[in-house]
Structures are given as C-alpha cells and as structure tokens.
C-alpha cells in the first residue's frame, strides 16, 4: 500500500478525494508539476517548506496513508442502523436501586418528564455516552440487546447519538446552502445537490417562515434554526438515536418534525413538558430524585386530547401571526373563553 501511494502523481491523489486536494494545496504541492509522483514531490521538499507544513517527510507519508484508510473507511461504512436500545436501571440520588428494563425500538418516541433537577439531563447523558455503570446513575445502556462494541463509545465517525437542545445555535458564518453542502460532503453522500435541496425544503416545511439557501445561517430565526437542525439530523446525520432537550416554543410544526424522525427509523428521546409533544410520544417516563419512577403509556383519551391541544396551539399561532403583521387582537377569543370554564 505504501509503494502504491508514493507512486501516485499529485494530480491523481488530488482527484481521489477533496481531502487530499486540500492537504496538497495547503502544502503548496499543487503549485508543482501535477504529473510528479508523491515520492518525487516529498523528496524535493525543502526544510523550510516542511517546517511550514508542520510535519517531517515520514510524518507526511504516514499522515497520507492514514488519510487514505480513513477516507476508504468512511466511504465503505454503511449507515449505522440499530433495532433497539435498552436502558438498565442504576440507582437514584439516595442510592436506592432503580429497578428497570426499558427497551426502545427504532421509530419510537419516548418522552422524559420530571421537575427541574430531577435527573432528566442525566438520563439523556447516560444514553449519549452509552453508560456502562460508570456514570453517577450507575445505569447501563445496551444496543440490540448487547453491551455496545467499544467502537461505539470511542469512534467519532460513528456517533450513535445526535443531539438537539434549546441552547444550540449555528455559529458558522456561511449561507444555509453552503453549510448543508459542507455537511453532505462530510457524510460523503453521492447525490449532494439533491440532498441539500431536500434538507432545505424539509426545514422550510417545518418552520413557520420560509427561508432560502442563500440566507446566512446566523440570520435564521429561532424557529428556522430548530427546523433546519431537525431536517439536517433526519436527512443527513448518520446517528440512529436523536436526543431532544426542551424545544418547546420553538415555532416549528412539532408533529411533522417527529413524523419525519420516525419515518427515518430514528429512536427519539425528548425531555419536555410541552403537552402536545409529551402526548405524541408512545410512552413517557417520570423521573424523581435521579431515577425513573414510572412509565406511562399514552392512553387513548390522552391521544384524543391532542386534537384539542392543537386547536389551542393553532389559536396562539394565529395570534402571533397577527402581532407580526402589525394587527390588533381585539376580537373575542371564543376558544380561550371556553378554557376559562374548565
């Protein structure tokens, strides 16, 4: 393999993957004859040039060899899929046993409820790091009924869990289209242009206010930001598990967002006190004093109530829209009057 790589020309290596082109450009190799072999180029590097690259010849060679292996591995890696995630109980904050075996299947939505400080974030964190009895809760997480292979915990390419929280923002100074394309390149998807259009169209579908591929990421509203994050996680992220922390009032169509993630066979775990989101989940776990104390199946009457909650929600959205358009809210709010009688 070593002989092989060294006998490639600068041009051949550059075309192999943008990563090599980038590396060669950063070392000024593209300024030399494209027909030169890597070996000849390496031999011709001056000490001054090597100092600027920040590696000696052997280090550059082993760097490029490692890069070849990584790029090949990324290309060959199938989409990570898992059938189930199992949470085995640990102990609560007082050290009492948490008797629990909770199995989550692909395409399932689980909600987590409980007062502030009860341990909702700890549960999300245990899933995120695939706890093996080595976190304060003592919980263990199984993948497909077995302890996760070490690669799952260590590997940066194969992250099991994608996360979305109210605290997250886009910080990079790029347009929506350019950034999603960059993410698509990292995922090495073959149909990049199409995938980028899909993500942006999908995000527009979820957000109340439309936005284009040309707008800057940092200019998006809160709702547009959440919508784009969800669309990106659903359509571009390889992670089969999605953890969502408190995204109520995000100004997005929550039902469609969840449906999208479910359709992609993700396991979705949401920490929320939003009644619509909580009832949309198939089950919700109740956390007290650091442990899961109850698992509530969403009942038929609860499901029936989603429609009423959505009417209230639509009423509020309509009011927001009126305010945004500079209108008054002076008509009687019949639907809210009814609520007052409850």
């Amino acid at each position: 393999m070593r002989e092989n790589l060294l006998s490639l020309t600068i041009d051949e290596l550059s075309r192999r993957h943008p990563a090599f082109a980038d590396f060669l450009a950063s070392t000024d190799a593209t300024g030399s004859k494209p027909g030169r072999t890597l070996e000849a180029w390496l031999a011709g590097l001056t000490d001054d040039r090597l100092s600027q690259v920040g590696m000696d010849r052997d280090q550059i060679r082993s760097h490029l060899e490692a890069l070849v292996r990584r790029v090949d591995a990324l290309r060959a890696a199938p989409h990570a899929t898992i059938r189930s995630l199992t949470i085995l109980g640990g102990r609560d904050k007082s050290g009492r046993a948490e008797t629990l075996t909770l199995v989550l299947k692909a395409g399932e939505v689980l909600c987590i409820v409980g007062p502030t400080g009860s341990g909702k974030s700890r549960l999300l964190a245990d899933i995120e790091c695939l706890a093996q009895g080595d976190t304060p809760s003592g919980r263990r997480v199984l993948i497909d009924d077995a302890p996760p292979a070490p690669g799952w915990r260590q590997s940066s390419e194969r992250k099991l869990v994608a996360q979305l929280s109210q605290n997250m923002n886009f910080v990079v100074d790029l347009s929506v289209g350019a950034f999603v394309a960059m993410h698509a390149d990292c995922r090495m998807v073959p149909d990049r242009g199409e995938r980028v259009r899909d993500v942006i169209a999908c995000a527009n579908d979820l957000a109340g206010e439309p936005f284009s591929a040309q707008v800057s990421l940092t200019q998006l509203s809160g709702g547009q930001t959440r919508a784009l994050m969800i669309a990106d996680i659903a359509l571009l992220s390889a992670s089969p598990v999605v953890l969502i922390d408190e995204i109520e009032n995000a100004g997005i169509d929550r039902k469609r967002a969840l449906d999208l993630l479910i359709a992609k066979e993700k396991i979705v775990v949401i920490s929320t006190h939003d009644p619509i989101l909580a009832l949309m989940g198939g089950r919700r776990v109740v956390i007290r004093n650091g442990a899961i104390t109850d698992i509530i199946e969403t009942s038929a009457p609860e499901r029936a109530n989603i429609a009423a909650l959505e009417r209230i929600d639509r009423g509020l959205i309509a009011l927001r829209h009126r305010l945004r358009c500079g209108q008054r809210i002076d008509a009687p709010l019949a639907w809210a009057e009814e609520l007052g009688k409850v």
Partner: protein
C-alpha cells in the same frame, strides 16, 4: 510516572477538562500532579490546588512559551517524582497555533473547541496534527451538524488521533479521556528524548530585545512576505 502533554489554543477549556479528568484518575494509590505552563499570568493553579492536586506553575514571560516549555519539562518530571506523582499532566497554552510541545513516546493531547470555527483544525500545526488524542469541547452550544463537520475536519487534519468529545462544565466524556490517560506510557526521564517536531524558531535581534523597526535590524532567521507581481 505516566506523562501526558495537554496543549491547545487559549480559552478552549484545557483546565476545565483536566480538572474533570483528574477527578476520575485521582484516587488512593494513584496521585495526579499538574504542571501549568502559561505566558504572563495564571490563576488556574488555585483551581488545581482547590481540587487537592499538587501543582507547579511555569510562566514564560518574554520567552517563546514553547522554548520555555522544552527547557523546563525534564525538571517538571523531577518535581513530579519528588511529589510522588503517578500521573503527571502537563498543560501548556498553544498561543500561536504553530506550537509543538508534544514529545515522542509521551501521550499527547490537543484540545480544540467547536466555537473556534470549522476550518480551524487545518490551521493548527504540529500541536494538533501530531497529537495522539484530539479533545473537542463546547459541543453543547453548537448544532449537531457543525459538530459533525468540525469532527470531520479534525479527522482530516489528524487521521491517526482518537477524537473525544468532552464537556468541561458537566464532565461528560471525561471518563473516556481518563481511560486513555490511565494507559499513558511510563517515563522516568526525558533526557535525550525528542520532540515530535521542531518548535517554531526565530533567532534575530528582536528575540533579544531590539525594538527599532528597519531593514538593518532584520538579521539572522528572518522570513519576508511575498506580494506577488506588482503591475508596472
């Protein structure tokens, strides 16, 4: 004694991560000691001391922090041995991105943060490119997509390193980092060992206090900019 060098640009959270990791490693029968290198001032030794860890501080002042580091690192090992330290974590600030503090045979960690910009990994020199472990911090405040792009760029900049995500505030990920540190090679003396890459160099009148600007003073190891062809 196990030796670990931890380097990274200012304010990425090196100290926070070392504190969280040391908390996992420090236990009866295994003492963790800290060497903190900085340029002008630091109060981080208080944080380490407060955590019950033996700590020594080295301030480079007017000398290149990297050169100061390499001139003192073996003495730091001696200090560690005198303190009966089992795991010595040496924290140094990577002030110019060209820093190159990693030592052959010693576990080398580079810390970078998600807020520094997605192209940053390729702009950092030997400190990141030749590290064994790259720790990425501040993942809780940027989007999942940016985290993935950032990690991918770290991967391209250093295809050999293990990439770990650690949260300096909650300590999430510190136990994985401690697993690696727990396995760092034993080293008793650095005498005769080599750095992984030469440090940034400058031997010129300005190194020894010259302040006048002008061609006459640009002697020794001087590099001039090129401006391309100027149209006639």
């Amino acid at each position: 004694m196990r030796i670990i060098t931890v380097a990274g640009p200012p304010s990425v959270g090196k100290t926070a991560i070392i504190l969280k990791t040391a908390k996992v490693l420090d236990r009866p029968g295994q003492t963790v000691g800290i060497v903190k290198f900085d340029a002008l001032a630091t109060a981080d030794d208080d944080l380490y001391r407060h955590a019950g860890l033996p700590v020594v501080v080295g301030l480079s002042g007017s000398v290149c922090p990297d050169h100061f580091f390499v001139s003192n690192i073996d003495d730091c090992l001696r200090w560690g041995r005198d303190q009966s330290v089992d795991i010595l974590i040496v924290e140094s600030a990577g002030l110019c991105n060209r820093c190159s503090p990693h030592i052959q045979g010693a576990l080398a960690v580079c810390v970078v943060d998600n807020l520094s910009g997605i192209h940053t990994p390729r702009k950092i020199g030997p400190m990141l490119k030749l590290a064994d472990i790259v720790v990425v911090t501040k993942g809780d405040i940027v989007s999942q997509a940016e985290r993935e792009v950032f990690a991918f760029n770290v991967r391209l900049a250093n295809p050999r390193a293990a990439i770990l995500f650690v949260n300096g505030i909650t300590g999430q990920g510190a136990s994985e980092l401690s697993d690696h540190m727990q396995e760092a090679p034993h080293i008793d003396s650095l005498e005769g060992r080599r750095l992984r890459f030469p440090m940034p160099s400058a031997v010129c009148p300005y190194c020894i206090g010259e302040t006048v600007i002008g061609r006459d003073h640009q002697r020794g190891n001087v590099r001039k900019m090129t401006f391309g062809r100027i149209p006639a």
